[in-house]
Symmetry: C2
Subunit: 479 residues, 2 copies
Amino acid sequence: MGKKNKQFVEKITAMEDDFAQWYTDVVKQADLVDYGPVRGTMIIKPEGFAIWENIRGELDRQIKETGHSNVSFPLFIPESLLQKEKDHVEGFAPEVAWVTHGGEEELNERLVVRPTSEALFCEYYSKNIHSYRDLPMLYNQWSNVVRWEKTTRPFLRSLEFLWQEGHTAHATYEDAEAEADKMLDVYADVVENHLAIPVVKGRKTEKEKFAGAKYTLTIESLMHDGKALQSGTSHHFGSGFAEAFDITYLDENGEQQHVHQTSWGITTRLIGALIMVHGDNRGLVIPPKIAPTQAMIVPIAQHKEGVLDKAYDLRDRLQNLARVDIDGSDKMPGWKFNEYEMKGIPVRIEMGPKDIEKEQVVLVRRDTGEKEFISLDELEERLPALLDEIQTNLYQKALAHRNEKTSIAKNMEEFEQKLEENPGFIKAMWCGDTACEEKIKEETTATSRCIPFEQETVSETCVCCGKEAKELIYWAKAY
Amino acid sequence: MGKKNKQFVEKITAMEDDFAQWYTDVVKQADLVDYGPVRGTMIIKPEGFAIWENIRGELDRQIKETGHSNVSFPLFIPESLLQKEKDHVEGFAPEVAWVTHGGEEELNERLVVRPTSEALFCEYYSKNIHSYRDLPMLYNQWSNVVRWEKTTRPFLRSLEFLWQEGHTAHATYEDAEAEADKMLDVYADVVENHLAIPVVKGRKTEKEKFAGAKYTLTIESLMHDGKALQSGTSHHFGSGFAEAFDITYLDENGEQQHVHQTSWGITTRLIGALIMVHGDNRGLVIPPKIAPTQAMIVPIAQHKEGVLDKAYDLRDRLQNLARVDIDGSDKMPGWKFNEYEMKGIPVRIEMGPKDIEKEQVVLVRRDTGEKEFISLDELEERLPALLDEIQTNLYQKALAHRNEKTSIAKNMEEFEQKLEENPGFIKAMWCGDTACEEKIKEETTATSRCIPFEQETVSETCVCCGKEAKELIYWAKAY
């Protein structure tokens, strides 16, 4: 037995015992990532990257469908350019990597390795937008960015990560507003309908908004341990960057106007989210729509004549219905079961001599562990239907979990008690004062996740100061 | 008239007058790139990036089909890691960007922004390869790399560029050899059959091989001005990197062995190649197979009733046959003709009131300028066939041009004369001595492009020293 097989019997830590260790065990045992030689960097291995390719593929399709074009902007930003928008540079300068030498020479001006590319797109827009006819300008890029984080974890927070960043310029505030809303909807669709993760849509508070934004929209999801994860954000810049970078256009009346801008991004964090939402103590569980392999055929007693041939025939026959693979290696079936459970493949198809005789296969669901015997005649209809059922079930399970883990608090005593007893989202009213927000964070380590679009009045007064409440907030400890 | 239209009447420099300026004019007027704020960096605009997406799509398909997996490795390489393989660090260290500070702190060890990722993959392989069962390991990544070039030109030589880099590890020298060959064939297929650019396949001389390679295979193409462009390379490392990085495996007999490795890459340079091979004095010419838009419908007299509706109907009807777009803007048809010629769209479809009456359209080829009238009944058959014809014609034209521009030289006098009279490839025999290769470069500025796989004996003696010839070389001035 090679070293490769052995790892699948090494038990992973139970999530109840140590969720952080469980997470680390899963990303490693499911072969998703390895650590790079520079602290906090990651190597995304084939099975991790294939998940990213599927997320990217669906999101890219929707980004193009909504009229955006992909582009490629440079990695380096001159220091002076980053400094043009004051809030923006203050937010990012403390956490960037600096290039100071090129070849054998010291540079006249230091370069920032992009932590995000607003400065570059703004500089470009200032040169390339002239008339209302040039608007809207709807750009997106898939790229790597670097943020010099102190504590890092694969996918969740890393020194370098992959993402897409959309950057758009519009004639009016309202146009930019519609764009920011539209892209948040696209994110919510991909995360809910493809990653099977329910989200709360809302707006960030002033304190939590993006550096340089007028406001930030967000989708927030809840992990299995009750901590929240910001899963995608969409920023409205108003004309702040346009004023700093002098991005103007001639309107239809011949008057000079500033553009209004947005930016929006999702990252490889989403892989972390799917692990922490769907995973269990046997490992990863991948929603069928983004699973690189949706069904794995495991031949049983494959040394018996005809079994392997039939199993390969089955693979060929199912190829156009789903992403089906086969493991015809000489490992024991039990090893293979463990391996593909760890890797979260939605369906296992078992086929042995008895099944061949009865013209059937066994389908085993990863999400529930349920087995069903299905005749070969019905398989082509059943497999896609089963994948749909799994997709729906994962979403429903995650939604039920989130609802269970969502509490209401009317005062700080309740807030702290519920956060302790049932860690998750706390819905509580807020007066709108940043002082209260900061106090809650100080006392509980929970942060405001968003001001949800779907407002309710769960009490009349601010959970913190008791003054008149302005709006409902979702609070949670967060990644 | 907006500023946008105006540019399409600005004449571009004729290629006969100043090829370099013609190139710069085309990349700009065809809206492919803009310059980034850091010297030598480029912004790839939507129409340039869409070409890259098509090249990438086809190549990625073939990379996967040949059994490789995509991964993502980090951007930063610790200085000490780059230094492990001596030839490699000597080749790259003078042209890298150095990160010296992260956040507000100076780093203990400088980091290199990857110029290529051998060091990272080798480090990973040394930790992850244990047994012959782990081999071959066939990885690829699509990424950005940085090389601190002194003189830069969009696509051809830039401080940062996009590429794919394959990195593989094999049990034997022969396995790695087969891999290096296979990937060169994949490159040749993509470049010849999709970019319509004929290539010469061969091996680089010792002097021209990749830093750290046992040998380098290359595909070389010839630009319109007679200069060569290295269009893709595939390196065999033998066990050199494996020894430096200690990458070993247990073979089937339980003995410790070093792996044998390859790497191979193609870059956004290919966009430069397609411009310089197919372009003409009216601008860009994109081969249909990789053209983001294959046919552009231009309505004529579109203010007349029904014209625009019919044109949009036509677009919808052709949508599944080819990548068809329509320009229904209020610009004059003449402007549109110029614009889409500049942008190299393979076919223009004109449709006006008379055509509607006659139930026909006019097809205009970008490559030859030929017009044909085709009845609507036949269009669905004709359009794909016409795109095929254009694809074939572009390849044949480029091949004929390369053949015309390929001379034979038997001595240095002939060499210099032919290089002067008919700039292009010079086929000449070589004794195998690097001194002759260097002398030729010094005297003519032509470099050895490759030792072609298809060898001929064009004379018995070395073109430079007159001693006994060992092999045929393709020489040329090169980008």
